[in-house]
Symmetry: C2
Subunit: 339 residues, 2 copies
């Protein structure tokens, strides 16, 4: 900018005034300055500007896994929203690891991000302290965090699973396997509650042997399903509370020589982009990914726009049961090995 000022024979203040429109500059000088800007190929240095202004127009976004289609979609929506608003977004994947998450949030804070959207991982204690120390607005997404009292957008997980389970129960299923995540994050907790309540509401027992947990990955779903299918009195249906794990469930069913939905019904949380093109078409609980992403972005953009003192807002969205053909009425089940 100094070079520009010199080339245009004006002061840097005038150049700045012109660029930011913060004061009116005479046409002659404007022309000279703009010419100089072109000649030099001047580009404003956003880093210097950030240091001076105390704002980076950058936000941080952390999710457990970007390859989980749910997060892929939400990240995409959030990215677009902030792109429109002139913000850059720094993306971090915590891989469900607590230390990684802490490091990444610190990294983002050091870089003076103006705000944070986080789908947290693990215990919230450190996140809580970090958030309290740093003076940036934080929006929690997908997963709440006890003690962190801030904006959040989540799903009514309990209700969503309750509905899905009720659907299975109405189909006649009485022994329904349930695969959950190991870590006690709020969605897993709430979904499990939905599972229990649906069974109880139907007067069915909650058999602990039917509940398995895994670490969110495909292989964990595979192992959990193998255990369920090895049970003496194996379940007639399986509900997976996590999207990647249901792939493992399907593979286990295939490897053990069964087929879905003929031998076993399957439903899961989170929709697939192409759920209705391939067979079986999985019955899923679809989250409103578009709305979740947009609301999270709006919540943060609102704080960024200056609305700092409003009390924390929590948005609870509803899931939608997408009934397809991966679940069969129990009475009509035909074993493929039958003669």
């Amino acid at each position: 900018m100094l070079h520009v000022a010199e080339a245009a024979r004006v002061s840097v203040a005038t150049v700045s005034a012109l660029i930011n429109g913060t004061a009116t500059v005479s046409p002659e000088l404007s022309a000279r300055i703009e010419q100089a800007i072109r000649d030099i190929g001047y580009k404003r240095n956003a880093i210097a500007r950030s240091l001076k202004m105390g704002t980076t127009r950058t936000i941080g976004l952390t999710v457990p896994h970007i390859t989980n289609p749910f997060f892929t979609d939400v990240v995409s929506v959030i990215q677009q929203a902030f792109d429109r608003a002139g913000y850059a977004v720094m993306l971090c994947c915590t891989d469900e690891d607590l230390n990684t998450q802490d490091d990444q949030i610190r990294l983002l804070l050091d870089r003076m991000v103006d705000g944070l959207i986080v789908a947290r991982v693990g215990d919230g204690a450190i996140l809580k302290r970090i958030v309290a120390d740093a003076n940036v607005p934080v929006v929690l997404m997908d997963r709440l965090c006890e003690g962190v009292d801030t904006d959040a957008v989540v799903l009514d997980n309990q209700r969503a699973v309750f509905d899905a389970m009720s659907y299975l129960i109405n189909l006649g299923h009485r022994r329904i396997g349930y695969i959950t995540g190991t870590s006690d994050i709020s969605p897993m907790h709430d979904r499990m509650t939905g599972y229990r309540e649906a069974l109880q509401a139907a007067g069915l027992p909650v058999a602990e042997e039917l509940v398995r947990s895994g670490n969110f990955h495909e292989i964990d779903g595979y192992n959990a399903t193998m255990q369920l299918l090895s049970l003496h009195d194996r379940p007639s249906a399986i509900f997976s509370a996590n999207n990647p794990m249901v792939i493992g469930t399907m593979k286990a069913i295939r490897d053990i020589g069964l087929s879905c939905p003929e031998d076993i019904s399957v439903a899961c949380f989170d929709d697939f982009p192409w759920s209705d093109v391939f067979q079986p078409q999985l019955t899923t609980v679809a989250q409103p990914v578009q709305a979740i992403g947009e609301q999270a972005a709006n919540l943060l953009l609102d704080r960024l726009a200056g609305n700092r003192d409003a009390p924390p807002r929590m948005l609870v969205l509803k899931g939608r049961l997408m009934i397809r053909n991966s679940c069969r009425p129990l009475g009509a089940v035909v074993h493929s090995v039958s003669a």
Copy 2:
């Protein structure tokens, strides 16, 4: 830092020296400083550091669509690699739009990213100028850019499609529909060449009516497939050169009342994470996403580590034909409506 220096009754230079280990400071002062750091809760400001050092330890990454599973996976791998190296990554999605891409790259450059990985979009002219002006290392990924002579990692697209087409031809297919992307980016061009050459090598004609183009989205694949299936002498197989578009292909086949592979064979570029769990299991050309991401990251990290003068390096990786059950020998095709 000034506060820390005051609280510890030393100069800022000493604080800096201690933090960065750039000079030895006496145990007494070290203790005082560390105590002050804890008391104040001091965190180093990465922005100020960047301004001074001229490096942000941040890279920019732009892809057309993060929801395309290919890019999802590659982004994930790249993100992990830079995370390990202590870099943050700013993610941008261009949505196949040229202006968006230019804006985003400028945004990233303004923010002084240390390097750029870009899966480019559209004409390379502006990208070329931007890259030339800015003095940051750039790695091209997936898509080359004429006139931009820089590091790159791409697939041998021509060969990959040639192999896939040869497979279909060996199966007895003679009329093979081909769905490509509209924009003339290098992969689309090379894949089309592979299509043509495979037909020619087999002594088959290249019927222009069998080649349709779309704008990379599902709906475009749907429309293109509808057109292909409306042909008087409709193709017995369809190859989609893009992953999202093949979903449209499958939906069109379903909507028109046909089924795959019984009535029509389908193959496509890019593998799905769960290709082998659902039916039909699509035969695909799988890209080595892990290697692509890692190599792109390594190329850039190498430049970042100081190796600026080495001549541009281009890595060409090989695709792998994943033969599943979505393609049938032509002679054995049985129409599902037959009695």
